[in-house]
């Protein structure tokens, strides 16, 4: 683990460095407050020993600036100072330091206090890991592990904004498993789930890394395609349809023939300014595909009416 030693006095700095290295840490040295602040841009530097009195920006100011930072992991700060009055200790801790030690340093005490700091950092890391895991769980569909509806809608909104900035179209393909209810009714839900998992697996193999796939509803899968216009989306839809329906899906009970219908739309179409509207347009195209006998792809046309109205596809 790396530890920052921000200390302008060369002797103090050397003694601290030697001890810290003997204890198995890696020392990073800074001779001024500014240098300390720059060193702390390194995300791996989570433990720091700051001297109060330093030329230019002092330790208290460094501490305040560190505590104002956003998007950084927690930095544990031990403030060192020859100032040993109660009000100094209070001022040091109030600036955001986690701990305060007076000079000359008792190194057994410093070692123990660094261990405390490391414990806090480890604890924070564990909490962040769990937080990220929970966030991921909350963002994914529990069966297929692809993005859930709210997350994929968020992605689409972000992608539409980016597309607008970069003047690039965003495509959406909404797929629905044909007669999925019948599969569930005939084979049971466990087999239905197996079929759905296989469909997702086949679709995932046919999309680009930049594309996003999510479960929009029970048997509805949505795919977001950045930089994909009306010229290409039909081909993409066809490719996806064939990937699913070409060969039957092997399940524990039987090989089940599964096909999909697909509705495609892009942000080039009128009335598609928001994620909801674009999905609605793709959904109408999907309805049309279902109406045309299923196992086919329909792309919404440029002459469609604003959302909520009848559209021509």
């Amino acid at each position: 683990m790396k530890i920052l030693i921000a200390e302008d006095d060369q002797i103090s700095s050397r003694i601290l460095q030697k001890n810290i290295e003997n204890w198995g840490y890696k020392a990073v040295l800074a001779r001024s407050g500014q240098a300390a602040l720059e060193a702390l841009q390194d995300e791996e530097l989570r433990l720091s020993i700051l001297d109060w009195m330093m030329p230019g920006m002092d330790g208290v100011e460094v501490c305040r600036k560190i505590r104002c930072r956003k998007k950084y992991k927690y930095t544990y700060i031990i403030m060192l100072s020859a100032k040993d009055r109660k009000q100094d200790i209070i001022a040091g801790l109030s600036s955001g330091a986690d701990d305060y030690m007076t000079k000359p340093v008792n190194f057994l005490e410093l070692r123990a206090r660094l261990k405390t700091g490391k414990r806090i950092i480890d604890l924070e890391d564990k909490l962040l890991l769990i937080q990220n895991q929970l966030k991921d769980i909350a963002s994914r569909d529990s069966l297929t592990k692809i993005w859930n509806r709210s997350e994929i809608s968020k992605f689409l909104s972000e992608e539409l904004e980016r597309g607008l900035r970069e003047k690039k179209p965003t495509g959406v393909v909404l797929l629905d498993l044909d007669h999925f209810k019948k599969i569930n009714d005939f084979y049971g839900h466990a087999i239905g789930d197996q079929a759905l998992l296989q469909v997702v697996s086949r679709l995932k193999r046919k999309i680009r890394k930049s594309d996003k796939i999510g479960r929009y509803g029970g048997d509805e899968i949505i795919i977001i395609l950045p930089n994909c216009g009306l010229d290409e989306i039909k081909k993409v839809g066809e490719r996806l349809r064939l990937a699913v329906g070409k060969i039957g899906i092997k399940t524990d009970l039987d090989t089940v023939p599964v096909t999909v219908s697909a509705g495609c739309a892009t942000s080039e179409l009128p009335g598609t300014a928001s994620a909801d509207k674009l999905i609605k347009v793709a959904d109408r195209a999907l309805l049309k595909a279902k109406g045309q006998g299923r196992n086919c792809v329909v792309v919404a046309g440029p002459d469609l009416e604003p959302a909520g109205e009848q559209i021509n596809v």
């Binding site: 006095d9 002797i11 003694i15 001890n19 003997n22």
Partner: protein, 124 residues
């Protein structure tokens, strides 16, 4: 306090204390003392300049810095004089600052002479 501990306090450097702080490494102590004397040469020049210009903030900062360095090496006599220098700077007292600067220099020479006869505390 034992006799030897008392004796250590009277010496310009408390070898027991400083060696305890740096894990008994006498070669490292030598390196640190060299840094101390090198830094003092520069600080002495800055201190004289600050006193001439009556820059009390600078006097305070230099006093504070010398106090910290002296404390780290268990140079208690130098630490006390550095504290006097720091106080003179804080209280903007020119005469006290001049006296403390002179005393500090004398103590540094005393320390050097002591170390020449006893470089790593072998009599401690």
């Amino acid at each position: 306090m034992s006799d030897s501990a008392n004796l250590n306090k009277l010496r310009p450097i408390d070898f027991c204390d400083v060696l305890d702080r740096i894990g008994g490494d006498t070669a490292f102590l030598k390196e640190l003392l060299n840094i101390y004397f090198q830094e003092y040469t520069e600080k002495k020049r800055l201190l004289e300049e600050a006193i001439t210009q009556e820059d009390f903030k600078k006097v305070y900062e230099l006093g504070h810095s010398l106090k910290g360095a002296s404390a780290n090496l268990s140079l208690s006599r130098l630490q006390r004089v550095a504290f006097a220098l720091e106080t003179a700077g804080r209280e903007r007292h020119l005469q006290l600052a001049q006296e403390a600067a002179r005393s500090f220099d004398t103590e540094v020479q005393t320390l050097k002479a002591f170390l020449e006869g006893n470089p790593t505390g072998k009599f401690v």
